[in-house]
């Protein structure tokens, strides 16, 4: 906190130690007050949003049939939790989606990191494959989902495949960039210190590319979820995406929103886990930039 370092020495000459303690307590109080204010304001925004939605819907300002309202969404979630969905219990649907996303994510990340680093390190590979990667990347890959459905059927494999293609590219490009932009001095130093090419790759390039890769992991888990959901939406026997499409098919708009809410919660939890992992892994980084 800048105020701390500024006010302390200035007052230090005059103030007795008890004054200083008093002041630091006051400062702590101010920090708490601010946190309370921010959180309160956040809550207010949410309440306002939900309240207006509910009110407009009930008053007929917006079409209740299309836009539903929070209380109905809540009821829908409650029904799913208590009595399960048309395809089975809610937990089962969430787990199905999560599993597909997770498999897709792991495969996509592994492939992306491996190929990214390989192409980043080996000039020849980069020159040969570069244009193809660009072409594939330029394609809107979500259109592959129906093709995967034809190839792999209604089961989880087609969803995993859509997740993989969505995850692969951002991870690949970040790993590639990370491997390319390794500090030349660090590489030179490692080589002078006696590192072989292999050692340079594993002990210099990969560690310094990890922060690049991690940046993409955050985004890419979201992509994995999108891939799984879209896959399910197009055709599946289980999962949140299927719930969305079922709700849509029966003109149950509350069901669509409810599935969205559940999705958001799942995504947020996954994001939190990743951030936690990242903090553990990047203890060597200065605190400010550690939690990118």
């Amino acid at each position: 906190m800048p105020p701390e370092s500024v006010s302390l020495p200035a007052a230090g000459a005059l103030a007795k130690p008890s004054d200083a303690a008093e002041r630091s307590k006051a400062r702590a109080r101010a920090v708490r007050r601010r946190a309370l204010l921010v959180n309160g304001a956040r809550l207010l925004v949410l309440v306002l949003f939900l309240g207006l939605w509910e009110w407009f819907s009930r008053a007929g300002v917006i079409d209740k049939f299309n836009f539903s309202m929070p209380s109905e969404v809540y009821d829908q979630i409650r029904t799913w939790v208590m009595h399960g969905t048309a395809q089975g219990s809610l937990a089962e649907q969430i787990w199905a989606t999560l599993q597909e996303a997770l498999y897709g994510w792991v495969i996509g990340v592994a492939a992306g990191v491996l190929l990214g680093i390989a192409l980043g390190r080996v000039r020849f590979l980069a020159d040969v494959f570069g244009p193809y990667v660009k072409i594939l990347n330029a394609m809107p890959r979500i259109v592959l989902a129906p093709i995967f459905l034809i190839w792999f059927g209604l089961g989880p494999a087609s969803k995993v495949a859509s997740a993989v293609v969505l995850v692969f590219f951002p991870v690949f490009f970040n790993a590639f960039q990370g491997a390319r932009e390794v500090d030349r001095n660090l590489v030179a130093n490692a080589r002078i210190l006696g590192a072989s090419n292999r050692q340079v790759t594993f002990q210099v390039v990969i560690p310094s590319a990890t922060s690049w890769i991690f940046t993409s992991l955050h985004v890419s888990f979201g992509f994995a979820l999108i891939g799984a959901i879209v896959g399910e939406y197009i055709g599946a026997t289980k999962g949140l995406g299927l719930m969305v499409s079922t709700a849509q098919g029966t003109f149950n708009s509350a069901g669509v929103y409810a599935a969205m809410v559940i999705l958001a919660v799942v995504a947020l939890i996954a994001e939190g886990l990743l951030t936690f992992l990242e903090k553990r892994l990047f203890r060597w980084k200065p605190a400010e930039s550690g939690a990118r």
Partner: protein
């Protein structure tokens, strides 16, 4: 494989031109002729940007000369030799390794067992006064401390040829004197050959057997001065000797001119 009579380092008409982004050739150094005998301590001084760092990268094998020859131990340099240590001008410690692990890196790369590498690293950390910091990460150190980590990481490999690019410029005056004395001790003990680049003329005279003055860029060797001050030297004491001042004056009249040329060029560019 090498005859013991050949000099440690020999540059014969060596030059290096870089390709600039616009495609033009930029000559960094040209017509370099320089010999460093075995066990000799050579200091290189010259105006900023003249090509001192480039010269060191040629000797280290990190870069190839575009002209002439560079010989280390009598053989043309082809790639990085195992006997070379290089303290870089820029920070080059590994930020994801702790201080201890950074100093262990060289021996570990070279296949030394972990326990022995750790022992040697600890020994060197003690010598540079960083024993208490071995678990820290580089971002938790001051600039001078990081430099000392780099020094320890280089020395722990026992290089026969030591290239140092302004290694002490980030250190405070006291540590600098301490490290300089230590460098002299180490050098006297191992008999390694040293090329030491610095901006500090006093430092170069206090340390070296030979001071090489380079011209304004593209650099070539302008003059080589032999420093006949007796050894062993203590850098803080040797500065006070009348002979030191004499040598200083002599070298400065040569170097000062090149510095002036460089400065005028810079001013002309700015205008």
């Amino acid at each position: 494989m090498t005859s013991n009579t050949s000099p440690a380092i020999e540059l014969r008409g060596a030059g290096k031109a870089f390709r600039t982004p616009s495609g033009a050739l930029h000559t960094a150094v040209r017509d370099l002729d320089l010999t460093v005998e075995r066990g000799e301590f050579v200091a290189v001084v010259g105006p900023t940007g003249c090509g001192k760092s480039t010269t060191l990268t040629l000797v280290s094998g990190l870069e190839e000369p575009t002209e002439g020859e560079v010989l280390v131990g009598g053989e043309p340099v082809g790639g990085i030799g195992g006997n070379v240590g290089f303290v870089f001008q820029q920070d080059a410690v590994f930020p994801w390794r702790t201080v201890l692990s950074n100093v262990m890196a060289g021996p570990r790369f070279r296949g030394v067992a972990k326990a022995e590498a750790r022992e040697r690293a600890r020994d060197w950390l003690a010598r540079v006064g960083l024993s208490a910091f071995e678990d820290r990460y580089p971002h938790q150190l001051s600039g001078g401390q990081r430099k000392r980590v780099a020094l320890a990481a280089t020395f722990v490999n026992d290089p026969g040829i030591l290239l140092m690019d302004e290694p002490f410029s980030a250190l405070d005056v006291q540590t600098r004197a301490l490290m300089s004395d230590q460098l002299l001790d180490l050098w006297a003990g191992t008999g390694s050959s040293v090329v030491f680049v610095t901006h500090d003329l006093e430092e170069s005279i206090a340390l070296a057997d030979k001071v090489v003055v380079m011209t304004a860029g593209p650099a070539t060797v302008k003059e080589v001065f032999t420093i006949d001050l007796p050894r062993p030297r203590k850098v803080e004491e040797v500065r006070l000797e009348p002979r030191f001042v004499e040598i200083y004056r002599e070298i400065w009249s040569s170097l000062g001119e090149e510095v002036r040329i460089t400065r005028e060029r810079g001013a002309a560019h700015a205008a």
